[in-house]
Subunit: 353 residues, 2 copies
């Protein structure tokens, strides 16, 4: 872009400045915000095209496309282990990765509230950029809107991910078969407890941190270990938690799932916080965990591959797929009984992601 | 999906019901909302995959990908000529189409405010679905979040579009060359005036309607008429209007633009409303118009192709690209003078899209 006007434009005050309505009006102030905050944080040659749509290379021959989208309205915006910025990258990268695809590109739509501190926006943009770099994806297109004070809540971020799906991978929720093994990549409930404890200003002896992380590297490590058909289903148990996600899979596959309560990894501090708050970790959101349903004969191989990856060290075999046309999820409890694990209903945990 | 539970679930009350926090929690209520409102409106086999990411066919050989994203926060949600639903389709379809690509897929992220009427949400979803059908794109993935009353404003919609770009098309803002001709596809300012008049509760003798429309058909008609290299730049003058968009192009191309005020099509009612409201139609948003910068020797052929299309009947030649390394946009006024047409600055028109 040529130096267009000799006029002196004062740089944004990124220390004490705030978003005003002009930042969303599409004129000079919008361009300045985009240039000094977003373009600087996300800098890459694709984004630098500077047009309303971004032209991307086609996927390699034989690869299909994958898209996923996710809106992020988490409160608070900053929490132990992360913030809305990295979360908005992880959430969408993971939705793409759960199809077996390699996430490549992200778009980001920001809805900002008038008065939001520019310093916080910069911190969020930099957190997104770091998360995108770490996950190996480029933020290639964006949009910024501003709403009046009291018509939003700081910042909402909707991200959309585009990935390339290698031939032979099919990890949709309908592929679980009786006999398959249910794996989970680590401890559950960490994200939900981290957010709730921050929100309720609870102080636990050891702070629990969100598990927010991009899972595409873990997924590639799993596919590197076994033929693709052995990995039947991948899904990340976010809103609604492990319980709701397994119910979705059971419903889509027309099969039941039997869980072993004692095998489900839960951090002691998470268990203690759940006791205190009256919550069940099975229903708490996770942002850096995946469920894999795999062929029984290769379950141990997949599990070893998961455990060898930094994000799967506490991976565990937690259950089995069984014949059940009604698609119930049941759990053998630590007391030796059995109970039905239903979908999340009743009191919701709002704005957890 | 198998019929999972024998439990009787009461259908949503789509007449008098309202969004509550549970609709965003990812459990049973979320699934019901998605099923009864969004999946019903957008029904297509890709969306029906029902996984977090959606698998799409690869583009044809030789085609590149295009993505664009846009957040929609327009107020009011319903306005003469459209609503946030169709606008959220048109806005993103047009951003994809302005690269010369054929828009194929859309994703939609909804941020709903607690208490929002389900009847309005259904009407918006149906408007989106109709606009998508008309534009020939499928809504293939979505997400729904709910924020507390007073933390949003009814509904915000972020859409992302994916398209396929045929070889040989390159319509980025940096391609204007001195001598090229500037075309606009019709009257300017209609959308801005429609929104402002609704917002200010002004009553004009004849109601002005938003021009919101999908422009991909018009773009294809233009490419059908001339070799692709003749169409140098395409851009839709949304926020910031014709003036700001031409300044962007001039800056990207490192060339000046000379406009002829008398040639710029403006509806008399729009001109009158602008007089009344103290606005300049050059800075008002359009949602169904495009600017084309074209090779001079084929300008008339492109113009004829535009005029033969329902969305280009009032297309006009409004200016010329000139040598000017500073990238100024100048206008010969109807009084015979000349003035610089600057970027939008000063008082913004908030939430116009």
């Amino acid at each position: 872009m040529t130096q267009k006007k000799p006029t002196y434009v004062r740089p944004l005050d990124l220390k004490t400045g705030r978003i005003d309505m002009a930042h969303g009006a599409g004129g000079r102030a919008s361009h300045q915000l985009i240039g000094e905050v977003f373009a600087r944080a996300f800098a890459n040659p694709l984004l630098a095209q500077g047009n309303d749509g971004t032209v991307l290379p086609a996927p390699a021959p034989g690869e299909r496309l994958v898209v996923a989208t996710d809106g992020h309205v988490i409160s608070p915006l900053f929490f132990p282990g992360g913030d809305i910025g990295c979360l908005s990258v992880h959430g969408t990268v993971n939705d793409v990765a759960m199809t077996g695809a390699r996430p490549l590109y992200l778009t980001a739509s920001f809805i900002l509230e008038e008065g939001f501190p520019l310093a916080d926006l910069k911190r969020i943009a930099e957190s997104m950029a770091a998360a995108a770099r770490e996950a190996g994806v480029a933020v290639v297109a964006g949009d910024t809107k501003v709403v009046e004070r009291g018509k939003g809540d700081g910042v909402f971020i909707a991200t959309t991910g585009v990935g390339a799906l290698p031939a032979g991978r099919d990890t949709g929720g309908a592929n679980a078969r009786p006999g398959d093994v249910v794996l989970v990549s680590g401890t559950i409930g960490d994200h939900g407890v981290a957010i709730l404890s921050e929100r309720e200003s609870l102080s636990f002896e050891t702070a629990i941190r969100s598990d927010t992380a991009a899972l595409n590297g873990l997924v590639e490590a799993m596919f590197a270990a076994v033929p693709p058909a052995a990995i039947r289903v991948l899904r990340d148990p976010t809103r609604g938690g492990l319980a709701t996600t397994l119910n979705e899979i059971a419903g889509q596959s027309g099969a039941g799932i039997e869980l072993d309560e004692s095998a489900i990894p839960v951090e002691p501090q998470v268990a203690a916080a759940c006791e205190l708050l009256g919550l069940d970790p099975l229903y708490l959101a996770n942002e850096g965990k995946l469920i894999a349903i795999v062929a029984p004969e290769l379950a141990e191989v997949v599990l070893d591959a998961m455990r060898a990856h930094p994000l799967g060290q506490r991976a565990a075999r937690v259950g089995t797929v069984v014949e059940d046309a009604n698609g119930f999820v049941r759990m053998r409890t630590q007391m030796g009984g059995q109970r039905v694990v239903d979908w999340l209903s009743g009191e919701p945990l709002p704005r957890i992601c």
